[in-house]
Amino acid sequence: MGAGAGVRAAKLVGAPVVRREDERILRGRARYLDDIELPRQAHAAFVRSVHAHARLTAVRAPETAEGLVAVFTADELGERVRPFPVQAPDGATVADAGHPVLAGEEVRYAGQPIALVLAESRALAEDAAELVEVDYEPLDPVVDPRRAGERLLEWSRSSGDVEGAFARSARVVRGRYALPRLVAAPIETRGAIAAHDPGTDRLTVWCSAQDPHRPLAQLSHILGRADDTIRVVVPEVGGAFGSKGVVGAEVPAIAVAAIDLGRPVKWAEDRLENFQAAYQGRGMDGDVELALDREGRILAVRARLLADLGAYLYSTTAIPPHTAAMLMCGVYDIAAAEVELVGARTNKVPTGPYRGAGRPEAAYFLERAVDDAARALGADPVALRRVNLVRSFPHDTPLGWTYDSGDYERCLDVALELSAGAPPPSGSGLRGTGVGMYVERAGGMWESAEATVEPSGRVVIRSSSSPHGQGHETTFAQIAADRLGVPIGDVVLRFGDSDVVPRGVGTFASRSTAMGGSAIVLALDRVIARARALAAHLLGADVDTVVWEDGHFTARGGGTLSLGDVAAAAYQPERLPAGTDVGLHASARFRSPLIFSSGAYAATVEIDPDTGILRVLHVAGVDDGGTIVNPLLAHGQVLGGIAQGLGECLVEEAVHDEAGQLRTASFADYSLLTAAEMPALAIGDVQTPSPYNPLGAKGLGEGGAIGSLPALANAVADALGGRHVDPPYSAEKLWLASREAAER
């Protein structure tokens, strides 16, 4: 299985190659975190705060319980752990409020871990956890971020003549738009297994994570251990969507326990814990003002963003709001911008990246404002967008980012063409259409790769990027097979083990192909350069006369060697020129500035005025992710993103009550869309290569989740005659809004 296994395809990059990783999954042989069993492992359950805010006055562990191994509280962990590291995005101020491992004197959200209970099975650990007595002195919780007294994040930037632009504008449009908190809800919850070897003092942590590097760095900081004393292994991962980029507070706790007890400890999170304690996404409001001239040109944007960051900071908590703030000019050429960002401290689980991570927020705030502006000006929303689109690249936004390349109008045109496929009006509903555009920050920083051509000619690549469903094993092999002219079946990928793969940054923000893929290209080019020198030696030719083509080195004067021939020779010292290292391998680290994907979406909806039920009839999505390596997988990313965007619009919302209790802590109250809700979809691409990497790739992992949201929101507002409603678009909300719209 795996098309092309053992077969030479002419060119694999750009081809819809089916995935090589599928077979083990389809046969039930893929190994996810909870599939790993270590001998003598103890099972963890956590006692979690039932209050959103309280002082902890006592935590009493039971003296005995069936199968009980140990109980750890903040006291037992003592000085051996510190709170999670906190990172400030460029120009931002963040509070020193890193998430503690176990709660000490205060709990700040319902679900916060207080005690770790270890027993011989998970069921016994849950039994024993019920016996732990916790004394609380409840404190008033802050639930509404607008009433928060404490700020965890502050950032502001102003560039260009904002005051002047507003003063001379023909029209100012203002709006307040809000997105509720969401739960990433990967079908595999979080989890980790920690084991410690006292002989070497080496800690090994298997962790359902997006990559091994960030968990390793986090654990190193929290546990105060040198990097090299920790090994992080990422097994098969059942989805993350941003929620597994930072390890849970539970992970350092089980690491300490594993060290203390001298036996492995497994924490396999259950769904209730995932709802209560995995960081959530979104939860941001935007007050947006646009200054427009008579022609509909946007002269300036002013925005104040308020993020409900929750109780503590994880290292990535500040990133989505910062990204949202930086993208408040969107796809538009706006000369002046002023954005202020406040991250409020509330008594809820912290937030962090969830698919889109700030980009859907920015696109939603700005694109809703643009549609409101069009309505205020009596202009066509598409025409208003055309007047304002960025058309030349690189483009510097007033907020300080540089868009590398793109063709925004082409995206818009293709989306409008595709939306012509929407079904005709049913006649009975309130119909609305809407477009939404986005620009997505992707790439940036660096990734690494190591490539080895074995004596057999097989190519082993160790990548710092790490898959959790994206299909790296296939796309990266396509890139490598093409580069080396070898069958894809001869390319082997290794991921996710910090002892095996080179150090890197990680898998997030739609960066794997552009960054990890490009690192592979660089490493392979170095391999080829080495092989060429060796081929010249073997062929007795001058290196400059040796041509590399189609997997073979050919000397001008005759003689040809395949890469495999050269590799075989490379492991025989007697065949090598003096002073040459044995073997054929190379490593590379690829760096790039930020790159910017973009897209345009168009949605068609109908609202039943009798019930308020929203029917999404059609979504057309066009993304420019640069050069596409595998359209089958790229479209899979887009479709999956759209489903999450639709879920956000239709049903998803993490609801906290006035006491800070999460009222949607299971799939009975937090719904995910099923196949039956998916509307007709039309997907298109525009491929504007990025100039910043050898593949021309940008990123596609999040576009669907970003673009679908503003398009649907604008379609809903259109159906309601311009009335603004924030998602999720429950039937009750829309029924009330449609009634008000009709009365107006």
């Binding site: 006692v47 979690r48 039932v50 209050h51 319902a110 956890a129 019920e130 732990v132 916790v134 609380y136 409840p138 209730l272 709802f275 209560q276 609801v655 009550d657 006491a659 209790q661 999460l662 009222r663 949607t664 802590a665 299971s666 009975a668 109250d669």
Partner: protein, 194 residues
């Protein structure tokens, strides 16, 4: 969550007031509750078992008078309990306000209740439903207590079967308002289905 109940008893305000300051008598009116006869330091220990269909929760805790305003005839009780098995808790401040008229007393019972843990998080609407039911029953039993009628002994091992105990009030509410909270809904959620 705040709830209010009101009733009138043909008992003079003085006697009503005295009765209300007798914590065990008031606490006994809490459905599914048992209370130790002797208090300690102004607090009485007791348990309360609440059942709704298959969902059963048992709390152990204390009841005490928080404050008593003799001038205005307003008394507040604080009832706190934690789950006997599980980490959740329930706490309520119950305030009774009396107004006398022609030898009768009008009693307003205001309850501010906080429930934590799984009971609060699973099944949107379940807690409101439970609390509403408990307090309807509490008010009814308090009314009986004040009239000098002993509250009936609990059936079924002292557990309050909320559904059964309050079927009367609930059905009345259903008839009146279609059961607002129920409607808020999800009721069917925690509650699953089949």
């Amino acid at each position: 969550m705040k709830l209010t109940n009101e009733f009138e008893v043909a008992v003079p305000i003085e006697r009503t007031w005295e009765t209300l300051l007798d914590v065990p008598r008031v606490a006994r009116a809490l459905p599914g509750a048992t209370i130790e006869p002797e208090g300690e330091g102004g607090a009485w220990r007791g348990t309360m078992k609440v059942r709704l269909g298959p969902v059963t929760t048992e709390y152990a805790g204390t009841a005490r008078i928080q404050d008593a305003d003799e001038d205005d005839r307003v008394a507040s009780y604080r009832v706190e309990g934690r789950e006997l098995r599980g980490q959740g808790s329930a706490a309520a401040t119950i305030t009774t306000r009396l107004a006398g008229a022609d030898g009768a007393t009008r009693v307003v019972v205001e309850t501010d209740m906080q429930v934590t843990g799984r009971q609060a998080q699973l099944g949107r609407g379940l807690m409101e439903q439970l609390a509403g039911a408990i307090l309807d029953d509490f008010a009814a039993r308090l009314e009986q207590e004040l009239r000098g009628v002993a509250a009936p002994a609990d059936a079924g091992g002292g557990a309050l079967d909320v559904g059964a105990a309050v079927r009367g009030p609930l059905i009345e509410r259903a008839a009146l308002v279609g059961v607002g909270v129920l409607a808020g809904l999800a009721l069917g959620r925690l509650v699953w289905r089949r």
